[in-house]
């Protein structure tokens, strides 16, 4: 080569691909109910576990779940983390609590936030209830629920978590 050239050591190749996302039949039914302010699970015809959000199948038995079950918006803390480190582009400011919550009537947890609480007092088995956004803001999303907040009910024993009926701890 006659001229000396700078070596190219890297290039930037941003990739943007467009997709039409579809939630699936089961998730569509779930999200339609969430828009109405109702949490809905699906029961496995074989093992009777109730899943939320439902995906149309029981992952344990491998069979289709058709039966819909209306759940309470009260839940039990199965596990939680206090997040102290800010995550880029996340609008929620730390410290905040993200938790695995089991809605009354369901057997499997979903992830949501816990707020209106003393973070250090949150514990496994704690009873919480959904704090919904105003009805006019409801859309097809779980953030129709702003967060869950503690309620004055006794702590659920660990072996009872995920086994409460829709009527809750005493029911």
């Amino acid at each position: 080569m006659s001229e000396e050239q700078d070596m190219i050591t890297d290039i930037e190749v941003p990739i943007n691909l467009k997709y039409n996302f579809t939630a699936g039949a089961a998730a569509t039914r779930f999200l339609t109910q969430v828009k109405k302010g109702v949490l809905t699970g699906q029961r496995c015809p074989e093992c009777a576990q109730v899943y939320i959000p439902p995906r149309g199948s029981c992952p344990a038995c491998g069979c289709a779940t058709e039966e819909e079950v209306e759940l309470a918006d009260k839940a039990t803390v199965q596990s939680f983390t206090i997040v102290s480190i800010p995550i880029p582009n996340n609008p929620i400011q730390p410290p905040y609590i993200i938790a695995n919550l089991v809605a009354d009537g369901a057997n499997i947890s979903f992830l949501h936030l816990i707020s209106e609480c003393v973070n250090e007092d949150v514990h496994i088995g704690q009873r919480v209830q959904a704090e919904w956004k105003p009805e006019e803001e409801w859309t097809h999303a779980m953030d129709n629920i702003r967060y869950f907040k503690p309620i004055d009910e006794p702590t659920v024993p660990v072996d009872m978590i995920g086994k409460l009926p829709v009527t809750g701890l005493e029911g």
């Binding site: 691909l17 039409n20 579809t22 995906r55 149309g56």
Partner: protein, 352 residues
């Protein structure tokens, strides 16, 4: 070398848009039919499960994990996944059986190709470094390949059109096909070009769907008492990523794989070739040395419906169906991956 028996094969219809149906909802009915055919209840009744799919098609990370929800995976099963066509999941399963770690396996493949811009999704998935910065898509690459073949006098546009016409005609007897009908080579030639020299019907359609296979040792298959065919051999070879480094008018890797499994050691009654473009079927037939006695793509092939990540496995299933039905005694199934037939696998299936 232990022969492996295929005991069941099922597939969904090839549909251009599965709509709101998600992956689990696509897989589950196919698995239920496969289990029923093999006389099994669920994945607990086999020793190993392996699937093929591609997260790029859905545009979501770890999307393949959701497929496991269709299996019945409690108590925990032995399970694996290949981020490619399920034909390679079949290969992994056969290795598992041959190593003595399993006696039976369920293999399934699934894909929703419709949600994204598939030609560019595929080329970005398979080549993140070399040609990706040019944003060249898989159809354009195939068109270059066809153009080179035409210019070198290796094929004519009529040869390509005849492949399309035969595929459409054969697909009339395939209930799962997406496109079929009586179309003549002249009809195809009358179409305007899409990405020159390819016409739309030279290119496989975009399809959503799934398929599944159950394999076992021959001893196990006999115990189950179901009709079966045997896999005599399977081999796959891959060529360079770099288009300029290989002769894309030929398929060396197919030829090598075919020689390794002894394709021409016996009569080939049926060949199911994974050729997403008409001219590629001509490359493959030549590389495989197929003659007049071979029925090529009696199902219509992927030109009649292309269940991406399941189409390679479906080729094996189509050959199995014909052997079990007594229409053929020996057949070969071909699977491909990568642009312009980069990676090729050959499976020889015979009557038990």
């Amino acid at each position: 070398m232990t022969d492996i028996a295929i005991v069941a094969y099922q597939q969904s219809d090839c549909v251009s848009d599965a709509g709101a149906t998600n992956e689990v909802e696509l897989i589950m009915p196919v698995l239920q039919r496969t289990f029923a055919q093999a006389g099994l209840t669920n994945a607990q009744d086999v020793d190993f499960v392996c699937s093929g799919s591609c997260d790029y098609q859905q545009g979501a990370a770890f999307a393949f994990v959701l497929g496991v929800d269709a299996l019945g995976a409690v108590p925990p099963i032995k399970e694996s996944h290949v981020e490619m066509d399920a034909a390679w999941a079949l290969y992994e399963s056969i290795l598992k059986i041959r190593m003595g770690h399993a006696e039976s396996a369920l293999v399934y493949g699934f894909g929703k190709s419709s949600p994204g811009e598939l030609p560019i999704v595929l080329s970005q998935q398979l080549d993140p470094y070399y040609l990706a910065p040019l944003w060249v898509d898989t159809i354009s690459l195939a068109a270059m390949q066809a153009r080179m073949m035409l210019d070198q006098g290796l094929i004519t546009e009529r040869d390509m059109a005849e492949v399309v016409a035969r595929s459409r005609r054969n697909a009339k007897s395939n209930p799962h096909a997406q496109v079929n009908g009586d179309v003549s080579a002249d009809d195809v030639l009358a179409e305007e070009t899409y990405v020159s020299p390819l016409r739309r019907s030279d290119c496989c359609p975009v399809s959503d769907g799934a398929c599944a296979i159950v394999i076992a040792t021959v001893e196990k298959a006999k115990e189950w008492g179901k009709p079966y065919a045997v896999i005599k051999g399977m081999d796959h070879r891959i060529e360079s990523h770099n288009m300029g480094m290989r002769d894309i008018t030929d398929s060396q890797s197919t030829r090598l794989a075919a020689a390794a499994v002894g394709v021409n050691d016996g009569r080939v009654d049926v060949a199911e070739l994974y050729a997403p473009f008409s001219h590629q079927e001509l490359i493959l037939s030549k590389a495989l040395g197929l003659g007049e006695e071979t029925s090529i793509n009696p199902s219509g092939g992927v030109l009649a419906g292309n269940l991406l990540m399941a189409s390679g496995l479906a080729r094996v299933g189509e050959v199995f169906n014909r052997i079990v039905a007594g229409e053929a005694e020996r057949g070969i199934a071909h699977a491909t991956s990568g642009p312009c037939l980069q990676h090729n696998m050959i499976t020889v299936v015979e009557k038990a």
